[in-house]
Symmetry: C2
Subunit: 157 residues, 2 copies
DNA sequence: TCCATTTTGTTAACATGTTAATTACAAGAC
DNA sequence: GTCTTGTAATTAACATGTTAACAAAATGGA
């Protein structure tokens, strides 16, 4: 862990920021630390993190079209297409047609999907509660607020 | 429980957390917001975000073995293997043998790689400075500290 | 020395991320 | 109506994420 004395190579002004204080990598590390607690649990139920995001949104809202799902689950359309195909083949969700708009794909959860939710949700909640207890609600809320603010960096500058 | 028609689907206690206050997704959103500023720039230089992480670490440190690189760039070994192969084929980095340990792969940047660093680093720095100016150093440091703390959630509980 | 164990890196297989191109349908302008 | 334009979803192609299995080299005893 020697903070190396920076071989010549580049002027300081042109040196990339230190890896450990780089926001993109810090976000990645934090995310991985959190997910490492959820992934093994999800794995025992044979679903991925992204699949779980899709399923759980269908637990909040009866019917969701693909675009809205992509927004809420934060999954790009091409990935979502594949995930939907996979979940449908496994009988976890169903695709419906929107009578008013022939382009849209409506998604609905099946009883098999509901069974997964009923199994996974309590376990997921337990893990999250442990995390919340560890950091404290206030600190977690502060972090979430800061992250929200970063997420809006797009529209402004 | 097998009898209830579950019209509103799930009891509140078993409902997954709201998507917008879910830490994993919040981290994902924030990361994407930040990267959306860097990706187009990197793209004009024909490198990906991960390739840039590898290259820039070789700008800080003359020679790095694959394991250390995986740690610092936060890239899993299988991904790193592919990235190294690609960067080597393009003449951006070079692989050396470790005389003391035949298993290790040492990485070194080439002049072509240095040229990329000299082009990209200032642009990257500019983008980061704009971000830092937008949020303020203190707020950014606070965020980085919180993220660091989350990243250590592993070893404890 | 010999052998079991550990470590490092690679390969394989599948899932997702990412951008660009494409198809199917919808909405407006004319 | 026809044409153009815009939107929703898919497909294609490539890069990376993720886990498991594996080969090669090092290590630490017996």
């Amino acid at each position: 862990m020697t903070e190396s004395p920076t071989p010549k190579m580049l002027q300081d002004a042109f040196l990339p920021r230190n890896t450990r204080r780089s926001l993109p990598i810090a976000l990645l590390r934090a995310r991985e630390a959190v997910m490492s607690h959820f992934r093994p649990m999800l794995s025992t139920h044979d679903i991925t993190e992204q699949q779980w995001r899709v399923i759980r949104i269908l637990a909040e809202q009866e019917t969701v079209d693909a675009s809205e799902m992509a927004d809420k689950a934060f999954i790009l359309a091409p990935s979502l297409t594949r995930i939907i195909r996979s979940l449908e083949e496994r009988g976890i969700i169903a695709k419906l047609k929107d009578e008013n708009d022939g382009r849209r794909v409506l998604l609905k959860i099946t009883p098999a999907g509901m069974a997964i939710i009923n199994e996974v949700a309590p376990e997921s909640r337990m893990i999250y509660d442990r995390l919340e207890k560890h950091f404290g609600r206030e600190k977690l809320d502060l972090l979430l607020d800061l992250l929200d603010e970063v997420s809006t960096f797009n529209e402004e500058s």
